[in-house]
């Protein structure tokens, strides 16, 4: 697996983590502008969603264009999404809320905008924990695959979280929603096609 394009995954990881490192460094120096916490929240949230969509695009891209290399970086993209979602959550919990557990519980319970975002983050945890080859073997591929469809649920919740976050103009979140809908459509189309082919085989 590592023999072909050994540079691919390290490069994606490096490029993917560079903005996070930059945020951390500039944040520590107070160089993120007037409202640095808001800026950090916006950036980490956006990058989490972008990476999640990128990881979900790997299979559709293979189905449509026949490219196989994206499948090799899917795990890295998924883990990057988790890293940004984690950074997003930690920024909220520690820097924004000052680990005020009562306020955060109230937020999560009473505000759909936060409920949805928090749920998306929680869904990513089991996916990150079962991302190793060992875990795939332990679960067995079909079960692992079923579990990892949760990534789509997390992405839907992420888009909803984004839509509810903006004050007025939903253009940008709608764009991410459209990409997600397109990816889902390709997967559903493929599933339908497979099922038909199977049925045709049986009747033949």
């Amino acid at each position: 697996m590592a023999s072909k394009q050994p540079w691919l995954n390290p490069a994606v990881a490096l490029g993917g983590l560079a903005p996070l490192v930059q945020l951390a460094v500039q944040g520590a120096q107070g160089q993120l502008g007037a409202n640095g916490i808001e800026f950090a929240l916006n950036q980490t949230g956006l990058f989490a969603l972008a990476m999640l969509l990128a990881s979900l695009a790997c299979t559709p891209v293979r189905l449509v264009f026949g490219w196989t290399w994206p499948a090799r970086i899917r795990r890295t993209l998924g883990l990057l999404a988790f890293a940004y979602a984690g950074a997003h959550f930690l920024t909220y919990a520690v820097l924004d809320q000052g680990v005020d557990v009562r306020a955060m519980v109230e937020d999560v319970v009473t505000r759909p905008f936060i409920t949805v975002g928090f749920t998306a983050f929680l869904l990513l945890v089991p996916l990150a924990l079962t991302s190793t080859n060992r875990q795939v073997r332990r679960l067995g591929f079909p079960r692992w695959q079923r579990l990892h469809r949760l990534a789509y649920v997390a992405a839907v919740l992420g888009v909803v979280h984004f839509v509810w976050r903006v004050k007025k103009d939903v253009t940008e979140p709608a764009l991410y929603g459209a990409v997600l809908a397109l990816l889902l459509a390709v997967r559903v189309g493929e599933a339908v096609r497979k099922r038909r082919a199977l049925a045709a085989q049986r009747t033949a």
């Binding site: 050994p6 490096l14 560079a18 502008g33 007037a34 800026f39 956006l46 972008a50 976050r165």
Partner: protein
């Protein structure tokens, strides 16, 4: 002489044959590694670029002219640390110039703030159409250091310069039918490119009940930090109502109308469930999507509790006696 060859490099410096044979592949891989990393990192950078980010090397409003200031009255001034001039002038909402909070500072230079005519009409005995400088010059400017609480749960402390709105209203003599004051922002998509997008119903309109408008805290501001108001902060004339959420503070005003009916205000029309006509700062009434119980003071870390009426309850709570502020939010 000819048989004296140069000394051979030591064995440790000789590239192993295996690596030597792969040298092209290694160089290629290093290039692909760097290229891919740059594409991924650059892609994220581009995606995030639209969002509010620090303004590198921005010098806000270098040409501002100082205005004469009457000594601060002090009675309404907060002694809390003032937000920096740079933060006040580079981080704010002014949708006429875009939706990001650094858009106003980057784009408001297209606004021509002089000459500027203000119309005062409606239920008044002495309607006026007057140049803004003439309008203001008849009153002494006062400095007021007010807290500013945005509905988005961030806040600032701003030393405004201006004239109490009540003094100006006295001059035009409201009729006995006047119950409300409606304010209108300039509508000119050439000067205000944000108006080319239908994100809000232009022009921006705000309103106050007449007693709110006459309250001594209510200010028509023409400056901040002892200087003329920069365009991005609503030059040449803007409203400041410190006990209400920031969006009530309409900017670049061209018309002040006294009315019998409650004005139909922009954010209230855009989303009445989230933005009320009164929009008094109230930690007990949350925005449907986020808490209003606390706020982030720009320049501070962490949050602080939000105060009823933004800390001006002592001065203004009487205006709302007998009202259900949860219903009339």
């Amino acid at each position: 002489m000819r048989d004296k060859l140069p000394p051979e490099p030591p064995g440790s410096e000789v590239t192993p044959e295996k690596l030597y044979l792969r040298r092209r592949e290694l160089i290629k891989n290093a290039g692909l590694f760097a290229g891919t990393a740059a594409v991924v990192g650059g892609g994220l950078y581009l995606l995030g670029m639209k969002r509010t980010r620090p303004m590198d090397g921005f010098v806000p409003d270098a040409g501002a002219v100082a205005q004469p200031v009457a000594p601060a009255q002090g009675a309404f001034d907060t002694s809390e640390p003032r937000t920096s001039y740079e933060d006040i002038t580079t981080y704010n909402n002014f949708y006429e110039f875009g939706l990001d909070k650094n858009d106003p500072a980057r784009r408001a230079h297209t606004l021509k703030t002089r000459p500027w005519t203000v119309v005062i009409d409606g239920e008044v005995h002495k309607p006026r159409t007057v140049d803004v400088d003439q309008l203001i010059s008849s009153f002494p400017l006062e400095e007021r250091v007010y807290r500013m609480r945005c509905v988005e749960a961030w806040s600032m402390v701003i030393p405004w310069l201006g004239v109490p709105l009540g003094k100006l209203l006295e001059q035009v003599q409201p009729t006995s039918f006047a119950k409300y004051v409606a304010f209108t922002t300039l509508e000119d998509p050439e000067q205000m490119p944000g108006q080319k997008s239908p994100v809000l119903d232009w022009p921006y309109v705000e309103g106050l009940r007449l007693d709110e408008a006459l309250h001594p805290l209510t200010l028509l501001a023409t400056g901040l930090y002892g200087k003329q108001l920069p365009a991005q902060n609503g030059a040449p004339l803007r409203l400041v109502v410190p006990w209400k959420y920031g969006f009530k503070g309409i900017k670049s005003i061209v018309r002040i109308s006294l009315t019998r009916e409650q004005p139909r205000t922009t954010w209230n029309l855009a989303n009445g469930r989230e933005y009320g006509f009164y929009a008094n700062v109230n930690p007990a009434v949350d925005h449907p999507r986020w808490s209003q119980a606390s706020e982030r003071r720009i320049g501070d870390s962490g949050r602080r509790p939000t105060l009823p009426f933004n800390g001006y309850a002592e001065q203004v709570a009487d205006l709302y006696r007998g009202m259900d502020l949860k219903r009339d939010f």
